[in-house]
Symmetry: C2
Subunit: 411 residues, 2 copies
């Protein structure tokens, strides 16, 4: 049999490639990608972008140089979510310690299911979850990192169902009375997606005004804390092994009961997944770097920024807050000069609703910044500014306001 083959990478060449690629990542993504003198994004229409990228997967492999060129192009054509003028999502910024944790995670490439293959990360996940629960105010409890907040919310729904109707696991909903699910009027759409996925049905989600008696919490450090996608903890108060009982399937090939160590450390059967990424390290390392105090200061800082921005908006003609800032969300209309003092005109709202999409298009084509917009209930399109990046300065926020004015002055 062949002892060597061309499909085996020569380690040295491959390692050189990796080092060269890392240099590109440092320059293009980490440094240029967060540089306010550079663009946030390089807009291209899908068809045009397709042509400029050689995406086609072929029979033959490419040379290392060509591959490094792809890496550069991919980074350049991508949106720089770590840029201080990216206000488009609930995540932004590029924490270097978290990124280090993510790179180590990728290099170690293990699954969180058993102590056998993830000794450090089983213990680390336990510690991080315990600390997170203590911030929620719980001394005991359980939890798990999940692939995103939506799926964490589905865990919560499944656990709640199991707690009331344990036989749902074996018998299914068919054996139960019709279930309904109460959620806050302002709950995230993942609750409805979850109701559909879990077989409960979207019509059986009853929206109510408040809903604050939580005995579980979904906490997404990939958002405000900037740990990086994905980092979502599902935390629960329960101490009766609900998670394990609700999800366990006792796979014989993973969760052997005759292992030589304490198999309570094999936590994978709490999950609906089999292989499960290590999502705790990036948060852990960032937390170690900043301490809880440092994280707290970051949150204080972005809240201060949100207040600053609201205050500046009140001073500028044309900006109209929809409501006081909600946490780090600032929702506002920009009323361009031609629409000012026209509120009684019959098509005012229709015309105002067209402003945000045009300004958004212009900022993206220019690459100067990114911010989201949406309509909500009977409110026409408004901007939703979110400050989460700790690198954002007051100057960035002044720029934000000036830029909206510049992009909208002729509308």
């Amino acid at each position: 049999m062949a002892r060597e083959s061309s499909s085996v990478q020569k380690d040295d060449t491959a390692d050189e490639f990796l080092k060269e690629a890392f240099k590109i990542v440092m320059e293009e993504a980490v440094q240029k990608g967060t540089d306010r003198n550079r663009k946030v994004c390089e807009w291209m229409e899908p068809e045009e972008l397709k042509k400029s990228l050689d995406l086609d997967l072929r029979s033959e492999g490419e040379s290392q140089d060509v591959l490094l060129g792809y890496c550069k192009d991919i980074i350049r054509m991508s949106v720089h979510t770590g840029h201080p003028r990216f206000f488009n999502q609930l995540f932004s910024g590029l924490d270097r310690h978290a990124l280090t944790g993510r790179i180590i995670t990728e290099a170690l490439n293990t699954s969180q299911y058993t102590y056998e293959v993830a000794p450090v990360f089983v213990l680390m996940e336990e510690e991080v979850l315990k600390t997170m629960r203590s911030f929620v105010g719980w001394k005991t409890g359980d939890g798990l990192f999940c692939p995103g907040g939506s799926i964490s919310n589905m865990y919560a729904m499944n656990i709640a169902r199991f707690k009331s109707f344990p036989n749902c696991k074996e018998k299914g909903l068919h054996a139960l009375p019709r279930l309904v699910l109460f959620a806050s009027q302002e709950s995230h759409y993942s609750v409805k997606k979850g109701a559909a996925f879990l077989g409960i049905g979207m019509d059986n989600v009853i929206l109510v005004e408040t809903n604050d008696r939580a005995d579980s919490v979904t906490w997404n450090p990939h958002k405000l804390l900037g740990a990086g996608l994905q980092c979502s903890a599902f935390l629960l108060k329960d101490t009766t092994q609900l998670l394990q009982r609700c999800h366990a399937a006792n796979a014989a090939y993973l969760f052997q009961t005759d292992k030589f160590y304490n198999v309570n450390y094999d936590t994978g059967d709490k999950s609906i997944q089999c292989g499960r990424r290590v999502d705790c390290l990036k948060l852990w390392l960032m937390w170690k770097a900043l301490g809880s105090q440092g994280l707290e200061r970051r949150v204080d800082r972005v809240l201060e920024h949100t207040r600053y921005l609201a205050e500046q908006m009140r001073r500028r003609e044309g900006f109209r807050l929809i409501m006081e800032p909600e946490f780090v969300n600032l929702c506002f209309w920009y009323v361009p000069p031609s629409l000012r003092n026209q509120e009684t005109s019959p098509d005012f709202w229709t015309r105002l609703g067209k402003v945000a999409p045009v300004i958004k298009e212009r900022m993206m084509k220019k690459g100067s910044m990114m911010v989201g917009y949406q309509h909500h209930g009977n409110r026409v399109n408004f901007f939703r500014q979110i400050v989460v990046n700790p690198q954002v300065t007051a100057e960035d926020l002044d720029f934000f306001l000036d830029e909206i004015e510049r992009l909208g002055e002729d509308l």
Copy 2:
């Protein structure tokens, strides 16, 4: 307001940290972690490991030096799944191109939901899925990268349910007749987990002998192809937008219909997630590097290795194949000297069932290699050897056999 604060990272220091940490990753995880002269794992009991790691999250942050020390320790204490003697899971190996793709993914930190924030990756995902479908034999179809094969399987189940009963999405299972689900007798346990999660109920999973009329496929390149966790494609033949129709919730803040580009490129509403990791780049870059031919050679190579190993086992006393190799799975008992030719003795099987756990304990404490074991049906514990790492050589397999003999000779 404060224009600077201690919670803002000084970019230069932070970048220096990142570079230093990357050097550690290269040395400790990439080079030493795949070096056959070094251990696969550094076994420690959970309590002992807890003491040796300073996992506690405190108020104050730590210095850069302390943090770099953590990085080193974490890597050293972790299992080296890229090591050529790690045969423990369906994943192993450390492809440098895939790792590069993963690092770029982490540095860009975007979500796959809209073209707006993931222009390159929306197009890339489409291209990769199209190519994967063509290998399955479908000229058209749909698909999505999901957080792991288990969740991909749940997608398949939910889509199948929706296809037959579209009103399940709104009305839930309560409005439907009792549903049952047919799956192969040898199907993965995620089918049962999924049936529980989706409200169908585990008892309503009917196991049948074969089940090969697939109109959807879960393909996990994080396993045999070594793309890295997580990389799981859910592929379907459907051309009627089933995925979109089944999962869409039309969130106004993400999927605005009045965007300035073709919103068919906003594919996020096909998913049950909201934020969704970019899982296509690592596979794409590795595929570009090797070409389909290179990937094919890798698969051929590991199949050849599996055959080689089976052949060697037949030649050695003490090794007993449970069946012919199934793809890259090789299931076998090791019968230690004291148990040979004892098959008629009443406690033979009980004693044989205790062999694998002891050998496993010994190899892990020694750190020489890792391989899984399990029982199945009425078969007592056997080893399940899996060759997926393209770096594995025939010498590694000879070592594997010798080592089992060494570790089991006194049993």
